[in-house]
Structures are given as C-alpha cells and as structure tokens.
C-alpha cells in the first residue's frame, strides 16, 4: 500500500478529479494548501502585480494498493500538466509507504480496506 500525495494547481483540480474518476480511482481527500515551489506566483492587487509569499495550491491524498500506483500517478500527471508540455508550478507528487489502513465501519484492515 502506498500513500500518494499530489500538490497541484488549484485550477487543475476539476480536470484531475474527473480524470481520476474516469480511471476508477474515486477515493480521494482534497485540501487547500499553500507553499513555495519554483514558481513565482503573480497576483493582481489594485492594478499592481504582486508576488505573494505563499502560493495557494491544492493537495490530493490518495491511499492505493501497489498495483494502482502507476495508473494513479500517470493520470494525475496528465491532467495536472498545463500548456501541453507542462509549466513551472504544475506541482509535485510524493509517494510514501503506507503501513496500515483500517475501514472504521467494519474494522477491515490492509488492502481490502482501501
């Protein structure tokens, strides 16, 4: 089991979600986060371009069984890339081992609970 954490552009959330659902990965957690990457964000504030300290991003957390890691990552990469070949600020994907997973309703454990 792996935990896939993806940081993507807010504007790509709908596209990524729809792509994931199309790939039958329907159990996700979404949070609004902010942080630094390579990207220099630009906002417009009363006609002035300003660079905010922290850029708002969307974070997806998806727990998957090992055989789903590839398809999940590929789907996210494809849907979160902007301007065709991708641009700075499209985000990152982190994959970490997942020790245990428990479904609260039934108490099931491991891969079946995901």
């Amino acid at each position: 089991m792996k935990m896939i954490t993806a940081i993507i552009r807010e504007s790509q959330l709908d596209q990524v979600r729809e792509a994931l659902i199309a790939a039958e990965i329907e159990r996700i957690t979404v949070t609004r986060v902010s942080g630094h990457g390579q990207q220099q964000g630009e906002n417009i504030y009363r006609g002035q371009k300003v660079v905010p300290n922290l850029i708002p991003k969307t974070r997806l957390d998806i727990a998957v069984n090992d055989e789903f890691v590839e398809i999940t990552c590929n789907t996210i990469i494809e849907a979160a890339r902007t301007n065709g070949s991708g641009s700075v600020g499209d985000g990152k994907i982190f994959i970490s081992p997942l020790e245990e997973c428990i479904r609260i309703r039934t108490g099931e454990r491991g891969g079946r609970a995901i």
Partner: protein, 448 residues
C-alpha cells in the same frame, strides 16, 4: 473569434456625442411646480434602498455558486451598476421616458439625452426630475443583474458586459417605455392600462424569461446536472436576501412616486406578501422534503416579493397574503420541474422571477380594490369586469414574454458569435475568479 477595433469605435462614439445638437432648456418659472420636500425625501430614500438591492443581489447570488466563481458572480451585479448607470444617463432615460418615437417602440427626447435638459425641472408630483430619473435608473440596473443568475458560472466577463449593455438598450428600455411611460401602449391598454405597479413585467418577467432563453442557448455548466454544485456561502446568501427584502420597500413603496396613502399601501402589501411567501415555502419544503431550509426561506421571501411587485398598488392585505402564498407554491413547483427537465437555470432566475412575476401579474386581477375598478369603469364609460382586466394583464404578460424571448435569442447568439459569451471548458474548470479576474474570493477557506 473576430477582433473588434475598440479605438475606432470609441473615437466614433466621441465624434457622435460632440455633433449632437445641444438643446438648452428655457422654462417658464411660473409653470414650475414647487418641490414637495416630503415626497422628495421619500423618493431619495427609495432610490437609495433600490440601489442597496444590487449589492444585496450580488451577495444572494454570490453565496449560491461554487467557491471558484464567487467574485465573478458578484461582479455580474456590480458591473451592472457601472454599465447600466452610465447608459441610463446617456440615453436610457430618454429611450424609456421620452415621448413616443419609432412608432412607439421606444421614447426619445433630446432633453433627456445625457440628462441635459432636466437641471431645473420639477415634476408635477413635486419631486425634481433628477430624483425620478435616478430612481428609475436603479430598476434598469437590477434587471440585467437578475438575469445573470440564470447564466451564472459559465459566461465570460467581456461578453457579459456587452450583452447586458445591448440588452438594456434593446429589451429593457423599450419594455419600460411601453409599460410605464405616459404614452406607452401597454400603459394605455384597456380601460386603465395594464397594471404593473413596480415592475412585474418590466423587471421580473423580462429578466426571468431572458435568463431562461440565455441559459438554454448557452447550454449547461460542465458536468450539469451530474456534478452537484454546492453553495459556497449560504450565510452571505441570507444576508443578501435580507438586504433585498429591505430594499424592496424602496422598490415597491417608491413606485408610488409620492409619499402618502399609495406609498403606505404598497409598503404594507410588500411586507405581507414577503412574509407569507417565506412561510409558505418552508412549510411546503418541510412537507415535501422533511426539512425547512434557510435557502428555502430566502427563496420564499423573493417569490412573495416578486409576485407582489406588479400588484402592490392595487391589492389589499388579504390579496397580498394569497399572492405571496400562491407565488411560493408555484415557484417551488417550477423549480421541481426544472430538476426534471434538466435545463441549467443556475440560480433560478426564471424559476423565481419569471414564474413569480407572471403569477403576480395575472393573479392580482382577482384582488384589485373596488375603488380602482370603479375608476376603471368610469374611464371605460360603461362596464369593466375582472375578466376584461385579466385579458389586459395576460396581453401585457404575453407581449413581455414574447418580446424578451425573441430579442434575447438574437442578442445571445450575436454576442456569443462576435465577442464570445460562453466561457470555454478550461476557464470554467479553473473558475471565473482566477481565470477571468485573476483573484480569489476567499483566502485559505476550504474548497466546495
């Protein structure tokens, strides 16, 4: 999409303005009525109250859309305050309240053009014409802003701005002239005219029907109706509904253009219908769904207010009570039908304003106070029955629906083709706030 040379258009407009003949007003001071300070004070207050409805509407609509579209949706109302207010000053007032031109299609008076000739003018009702012009101007602003609810979350800003400007010129101003100008043909229809006290046909039917037509032509939002769209902030919607209710006192009671008995009547009927509409809606909702929602209460308030708008001058409290209740039930049903037919009237501009306005304009016939009917009989020099008046009302409603539908169809197709009105899929997915305005409504709040 074709490019338009804005600079050329702007310079052409300036040249036209400069060439327009400058008519100065010379008035006989003896003929000028005196200012009635009581009536003027109330009309100034009413004007302010109606203006307050527009930020109220921005909050009402803004709270109902997804987080990513909140600013874009509120801007639909706010930008109307800019565009329509300027247009009204330039030519809207003239087109609406000038004497008949083009065979009565609209009015026109060079004195009203740029509001040049009314600097000294006091109306017979004792209020300065500036006050009347500004009061009526607020109605012109809120009408396209109401329409925007039907096409929320899927239109481009520039296209929308051009669309509402053209819509105000070609739909609102002529309709306003027909119904409210002294020589408008609906104002004179039948014995004592089609009854539209404060804008059932002019404001609510025209915006509701046009909204429906625009929603059908532009198509549904992405994912509609499969993806549930949750309101981002119902608290803001409730505050907006409250502001609308308060502002409606100016809308209806101001439409008496006086400060006296008619004002008091209109204000009372407004309050009765709004309260009944709200109560009826939450009761119907509780019986049907098992829960009374806050949004249901707000929708009921609006349904009641919309229905009493054409009626506030002629019905009595019991009539207002029944109108409010009927409007709530019928609008509730209209929204259930919408869910079945699956067309995407995003914020129910048609379901509440189109349907509620029609209900009010027709049903009011059965609750007209006797003194009005007596006056109508005298004007008709013979008999004038409720059925006669009902047919006059139905004619006015039918004409408003047909005209708004046809003109809006042409405008939507034209603006979408030439300037682009429908937002493309990527804009819609990223949200109007970010992709069109480069902003976000909320800082770090959660998504919805």
């Amino acid at each position: 999409m074709s490019r338009v040379n804005w600079r050329k258009i702007a310079s052409l407009a300036l040249v036209l303005l400069a060439c327009a003949p400058c008519v100065l007003w010379a008035q006989d001071p003896a003929a000028t009525p005196k200012v009635d300070s009581g009536a003027t004070a109330w009309m100034l207050t009413s004007t302010t109250l109606v203006l307050l409805m527009i930020p109220g509407l921005a909050m009402f609509y803004g709270g109902l859309v997804q987080t990513k579209n909140v600013l874009g949706t509120m801007m639909h109302s706010f930008v109307a305050m800019g565009i329509i207010a300027v247009l009204w000053m330039v030519c809207g007032y003239s087109m609406s309240f000038g004497p008949n031109t083009l065979g009565g299609w609209c009015g026109w008076s060079w004195d009203y053009f740029l509001l040049r000739g009314i600097d000294e003018k006091i109306l017979d009702s004792g209020i300065p014409e500036y006050v009347f012009a500004m009061f009526q101007g607020k109605f012109a602003i809120i009408t396209p802003a109401l329409l925007a609810g039907a096409i929320a979350e899927r239109v481009r800003f520039r296209g929308y701005c051009i669309f509402i400007a053209l819509w105000a010129l070609l739909v609102y101003n002529p309709l306003c002239h027909w119904v409210w100008a002294k020589d408008g043909f609906l104002f004179k229809l039948g014995a004592a005219g089609a009854i539209d006290f404060a804008g059932g046909t002019v404001v609510h039917i025209s915006s509701g029907v046009s909204g429906l037509v625009a929603a059908l032509l532009l198509g549904a939002r992405r994912g509609h109706p499969k993806l549930a769209v949750r309101p981002n902030n119902l608290v803001m919607t409730m505050i907006g509904a409250g502001l609308l209710w308060v502002g409606w006192f100016g809308f209806n009671a101001g439409s008496a253009i006086s400060s006296g008995l008619d004002t008091a009547r209109a204000l009372t009927m407004t309050q009765v219908a709004a309260a009944t509409g709200a109560l009826t809606w939450v009761i119907v909702e509780a019986l049907h769904r098992g829960k009374s929602s806050a949004l249901g209460f707000a929708s009921g308030v609006l349904a009641g207010l919309v229905a009493v708008t054409p009626a506030a001058g002629v019905v009595q409290p019991t009539g207002a009570l029944i109108l409010g209740a009927c409007a709530a039930v019928i609008c509730y049903l209209a929204i259930q039908v919408k869910e079945k037919l699956k067309y995407d009237d995003s914020l129910d501009a048609f379901g509440v304003h189109g349907v509620g306005g029609t209900v009010g304009a027709l049903l009011l016939t059965f609750f007209i106070r006797d003194s009005w009917m007596v006056a109508a009989r005298e004007a008709a020099k013979g008999s004038w029955t409720l059925l006669d008046q009902l047919s006059v009302q139905a004619t006015a409603v039918g004409i408003a629906i047909a005209y708004a539908a046809i003109a809006t169809t042409i405008l939507v197709l034209l603006v979408d083709k030439v300037f682009g009105l429908r937002a493309d899929a990527s804009t819609e997915m990223a949200g109007l706030d970010y992709s069109i305005h480069g902003e976000q409504g909320y800082g770090m709040l959660n998504l919805s």
